[in-house]
Amino acid sequence: MRLTRRSFFELSAMAGGGFLLKLTLPQLASAQNHAANLLSPDAFVRIAPDGIVTIVAKSPEIGQGIRTSLPMIIAEELDADWASVRIEPANLDEAVYGSQGAGGSMSTPNNWLPMRQVGSAARQLLVTAAARRWQVPESEVTTARGRLLHTSSNRSMGYGEVASDAAQLPPPDPATLRFKDPKDYTILGHFQSGCDNLSVVTGKPLFGIDVYLPGMLHAAYHRCAVFGGRVKSANLDVIRKLPGVRYAFVLDGTIQPTTIVPYEIGLASGVAIVADSWYQAQQARKQLKVDWILPPNPVPSSVELNNRAHALAAQPATHTLYSEGDVTKTLASANKVVEADYSYPFLAHMTLEPQNATAWFHDGKLEIWADSQNPGSGKHLVSQALQIPESEITVHMLRAGGGFGRRLMNDYMLEAAYIAKQVPAPVKLLWSREDDFIHDAYRAAGWHFMKAGLDPAGEVIGWQQRLVTFGDGDHYASGAGIDAAEFPSGRVPNFELSTSTQPLWLRTGSLRAPGSNAYAFVIQSFIDELANAAGKDPLEFQLALLSREASPGSPAAKHPEARYTLKAKRQADVLRKVAEISDWANRSKTAGSGKGMGIAAHFCHLGYFAIVAQVSVNASKGIRVEKVWAVGDVGSQLVNLSGAEAQVQGSIIEAMSHMQQEITLANGKIQQTAFDQNPMMRLRQIPKIEIGWVKTEYSPTGLGEPALPPVLPAIGNAVFAATGKRIRTLPLARSGFHFV
């Protein structure tokens, strides 16, 4: 990461002593390759005379631990005493803080440098102030745990004692900032408990749903169960007379049915019921009778989609993402050809906290409380839709009861804003669990038709992969495209990765490790099939593939975005290490024993993970995942050891949930409306988990996602080792299996 413009700090004195530091930095290259310009990831550090350091946490907390981990980075370079650090969540102000989104596991890589700069600059100011106070050269002043030290004269003082002096100094030149040697870290890489934990375990208000304002009313919003349906009429007169109901009205909605539904859909048409309590609004909803105008193209049923996918697979591809050599000829003449069809379903996000937002429209201003992962774009959306200038909109960022990509979209925020515009009081909109199921942005289902050829030595010489997905030509629905560089692209001499698309007329979106959470299952399972067909050890087979150079000019050799180029050594190293800690080489391999181990690896979100799973499978095809070993490479430094391990544990168990869940469509509607119809893992089902890390020289990257994708194929491969049966269709039930 290189700074392209002058960076600067702003410093001001705090009322009552102490100082406040604001950092402004130039735009850093971002994953989304924003039109780039001046981002200012400002962070604030306040040091009070009593030595209490307050650090503002700028990013949305959705359970990934970012509210704790970014301040840790500042505190480390500041050399603060972690026990004296207070963390304060920011409101939305991207002009001040830079991007305040949380997605794609990008918060760590994008903030690693600026957060260290903030901490280091603050420390430098304190050192300068202390040197002046003591009349000694700056080089003789050191710091430790919130204190300044002058060793030769045996003097020391707390940061708070010179904070006011420091506030008078000119801000340091960022070019002169020095960073700690990681071996001296006392905060980073250690186990730190989350900053909100005491509030969590004592039930303090923290989450979006916990917002209560004086005079606040409660809203339920009833949308059409068929995506894009609009209200024709509703029995509002009846509803308005029900207990507690203050207002009931129709919102027309702005959703335009299209073959590719945009990420932010706009407003769904529906009936708002605003009552004294949410329970009353929901009770009134039961009496609601709505006549709907259905969209011209309601979403097809799952059966229709599946039939069409197979029909499309038999036709030429609409789009070839990457090809090299002559795959058709190679497959026709290969010593051995392996052919397999894989598929996986739509999935819902099911954050435990249902979507909600509170809005208050008064005096031409709009105030919003929401736990969006992407509050900046929510604010923009609301401003555009309601014609309220962004300067008149305040967004308070609350802790989210889960994100997983669901809260990247701001439909609930938009709905709350529209409702609040019509009500002379603050209104909290809360979705029911059923609302949350049927108005989600689903992980796209997909079908992969795989064919590969082996030469007499068991080497892969041809690979043909057709993905049937959703979209229009080479435009894909959100989360439904595939990267041309997806492994083993570029590493097989005769290769073709192509797609066919069908329209969906329904919103899809990002679910934790989007794309990867599906493709790793397909590709890493199929590679295991090939290893088996070649009579080779799956680990050795993977390592052999990775040892091949990507062919020059292929997207795998040079990804359009450099950091997304797979580094084969990193992937091979996590594989070797996971094999080592799981004692892979000595695993028992009795075919049909009902016990087996499987291995898989995947690179995504800048992180490398390899997984070994150990399963036992009973006579009725019940799978017990006994143990999972995970090894990750996310660069040179873990930020919070606790958060890092928690993300890996959560990813592993969530991956298991993904294997047993399925959202299906019939009559234009989502068929699952409750947790029992789409079960997530329960405590009694969880495996033992052992985590290892490979440290590399790369800049640290995020852990919200990369551990998840290889878990699915590792379990599938273990089931194959145990039973000789290959899981090619998810959910497990469609392959005849289930978790016990």
Binding site: N197, L198, L683
Partner: protein
């Protein structure tokens, strides 16, 4: 209808329809927000409270049915977050998003009250009705064991921010 409730040893009177679920009385009427709404259908455990020492789904409990019963919510489990489970939860950094955790802790509290040193199998049985979407289960299990080990000798220092 005026209903008297005893919550965390304090008496409250609320004026609500008798079938109103306790969950919504706690949240919307008393603004005790520690008890969470996850499904409203008895399927997730986010709304768990203790009634007479047993875990109960407050979303499925008409408020009129508990007018005479002692109710404990997460806010009342201890005076200052010092219950061994609360301490263990902080020490082991159990919460991810944190949304399920009030329900998890209260369910665990009932378990420990009746089974002070539960085995893994007993934890499985007691805790498997509480969903954690973030899948923090590994640490939930560990924290219950940790709390069980410490409940007779409570530690006196809070260990938030502890380095290990």
């Amino acid at each position: 209808m005026a209903i008297r409730l005893t919550i965390n040893q304090k008496s409250h009177t609320v004026n609500v329809a008798p079938e109103t679920p306790l969950l919504w009385v706690l949240r919307d009427h008393l603004q005790m927000v520690g008890t969470k709404f996850g499904c409203g259908e008895g399927m997730c455990g986010a709304c768990t409270v203790l009634i007479g020492g047993y875990p109960v789904r407050s979303c499925m409990t008409p408020v009129s049915a508990v007018a005479d019963a002692p109710i404990v919510t997460i806010e009342g489990l201890s005076a200052d977050g010092n219950h061994p489970l609360q301490r263990a939860w902080v020490e082991l950094d159990v919460p991810q998003c944190g949304y399920c955790q009030a329900g998890q802790i209260l369910t665990a509290a009932a378990l420990l009250a009746h089974t002070p040193h539960p085995t893994d199998a007993e934890i499985d049985v007691a805790m498997s009705g509480n969903l954690c979407r973030c899948s923090s289960y590994t640490r939930i299990r560990a924290a219950i064991h940790e709390a069980a080990a410490h409940q007779t000798h409570p530690k006196t220092t809070a260990s938030s921010g502890a380095t290990r």
